[in-house]
Symmetry: C4
Subunit: 227 residues, 4 copies
């Protein structure tokens, strides 16, 4: 990354804000326009996936485009980002996420401050969040090895899929989860359900780091006579 830390922090905050505004805003829009929840989820999925491709492409060269504490943690454990910078990223992500929620509410002329009442809890939801975040981090780590230029598309497409195949609609991001706890709309989550989601997300991220570490350990070595 070629930018100084202040610009990287701004990029993380701005990116997370735009991402959450897209998630929450499109949820409000979709929910208003239809009674068919699957149509609403389509109207929530497409903007989220599209926005991820855009944001990672344009902000990746500045900050790495984490927008996600689970991703920042993995890079910190891999010593690709220092502890102080990681902490600054984390704060920027949470602050940016909250700003994104407030911005979405302001655009749709809703109360700026809300507390979500949508229950999202139970073993199925937690497993789903772990799977969702496992897949996200695994996609990022393997993608960075083989096709770093494709990361924006890979992440956008992965989340597009994960919105549908995980029972939790794939938050997969502690900062976004916190931001969504402050929106009592389509994308909301009760604050009391946050700890389970966030814990599951970190567990999934760490499992992906372990598996990807093994799988990519010697990818360069030519296969000899294994067959």
């Amino acid at each position: 990354m070629a930018a100084d830390l202040s610009r990287r922090i701004v990029a993380e905050a701005l990116g997370t804000a735009m991402l959450v505004a897209a998630v929450v805003g499109s949820g409000i829009m979709a929910d208003r326009l239809t009674d068919d929840v699957a149509v609403a989820l389509l109207g929530n999925t497409l903007p989220t996936g599209a926005m991820l491709v855009v944001l990672i492409t344009i902000l990746g060269p500045i900050s790495g485009a984490h927008f996600n504490p689970a991703v920042t943690l993995v890079f910190a454990l891999k010593r690709e980002i220092g502890a102080n910078a990681a902490l600054a990223y984390l704060l920027a992500q949470v602050a940016g996420g909250l700003a994104g929620t407030f911005l979405a509410h302001a655009m749709f002329e809703q109360p700026i401050l809300q507390i979500a009442e949508t229950a999202r809890t139970g073993s199925g939801q937690w497993l789903a969040e772990a799977v969702a975040t496992f897949g996200l981090v695994f996609t990022i780590l393997t993608g960075l090895r083989f096709r770093p230029d494709a990361i924006p598309w890979l992440v956008g497409l992965y989340i597009t899929a994960a919105y549908w195949f995980t029972a939790s609609t794939s938050f997969a991001n502690p900062a976004v989860a916190i931001a969504r706890a402050f929106s009592n709309t389509f994308a909301g989550i009760r604050p009391v359900d946050l700890p389970g989601f966030i814990l599951a997300e970190f567990v999934g991220a760490l499992l992906a780091m372990i598996l990807a570490g093994w799988l990519l350990a010697e990818p360069i070595r030519q296969m000899k006579a294994a067959e």
Copy 2:
């Protein structure tokens, strides 16, 4: 840009006409085929995003593929286009946009001349238009720095997202807004609401230019010991 001014002007007019024909025409089609407004918006979003990718790819090398007075203004302020050419672009965009509206009406056998009656006003709408255009111009300016070949996809995907996450469905373009004022269909906007939209769009564009200017100021410098 390698083309002479006459060809550039024709490219701007043609591109804006095709873009508006896609926006207005798909709105009419979608509105006719369904009673579910979210499904209709999907049927309006996909053609718009797809058309933007196509038009920017094929006309970008000729005119830069602005199709948008807010974009042209930013490039004029950055002195990447002269004042006379910028004015010619502006006129071509407005004229092309109107032609696109008329063409859509003709294809769907509607009265060619219409005045929209759809109210789009209020602080939420204006904020949404400022956000939408901020994001568009910010995407263009940062994308041009890091991945100029990806600009068609970035713009197409950004607008795909913005149709859903902004309360105004993201006009983000004064020429397109004017053209849509002459269509009393799904995509229409009352002429009396135009000034608020256009002002918000220019404000958003200028804010994006300022922020991108700061963020990209020294992106090449190697980060030293910031961490």
Copy 3:
């Protein structure tokens, strides 16, 4: 093109067959599954656009991936394909298109031979077909100049848009139109309406050839002091 004529002919027939099978088959599927015509059109649009990207990518290097007599005519007029080969292409496209219709019917256990009864006529429809084919050929000719590697995506995205913004849902292809006349399903067109469609398609193709010819006449020349 590196293949001999027999392989090129087979590629044209196979590609047109797969394209028509996708158009007609997804129309039947969508029509069976929903009463919302806009949802059905979405279920018809996505497969068509996706299939075009695939077929043009994998068969383009063999035959040029015309799959369309209007495209073949334009390349014949530009002397990029000889008259005999063009005629062989045309026959392969029509035969392949018919095979695609029959294949779709067989898969969905419908009568193989059908005659469409869906009326598609009138000035709006004809204008729409001319616009649709103009846009298609203009996209191909300008795309070939500036981004030949992007042609599969450009055509797939353009048709995705044109299904929605043209009143005729963009046949834009005389061979496909003929094939669709033999399917009394979602994608059908009455045989009596074929001449109007086909004539409009060729008119649109020729207009695109003329405009693209002028617009691309001197794209390399550096702009001097035009501003």
Copy 4:
């Protein structure tokens, strides 16, 4: 492929598991959220196509990203993979597919073990599966020749189309078919219907191998005076 056999096997199992989890999980999600079957199929199609692009990009460099016994058989017949490795791939694909089904059930808090009751049989279905797998293998073999970097997108887009234009919604994969037999949900298939599907899939794959073999036999030779 640069990885050793154990990593390749894990990649095949993991990839097939994620693919099946996406297919079965999104089917459950979509089915719960809507009564419109076409909307449900959209909600099943998008995640499947998106997941294929991701998985083939990130696991292709390790194992080749077959995830499909029909594909592995073709490469074994072309002697691009040895018999022992092919057998190991096959077992990994079936085991991974089953794990994917169980994972989807666990996330959605359904009984882990289920037997599908959805009848999918008859000549139309079998023809559809043969066509679907023919197209898939033909796309892979021609894509590998002309645009190997585009294979993930080609396969993702092809399956997106095939879900809609084939009467069977394009299983096109014996391991996925087996895994889906253990899910009595949207994506299920009765075990008794498996043999017909699997046989048709292998027939389609072999036909594609034969046709692609002929079509690509001399693609490099310059066309001389064929016209």
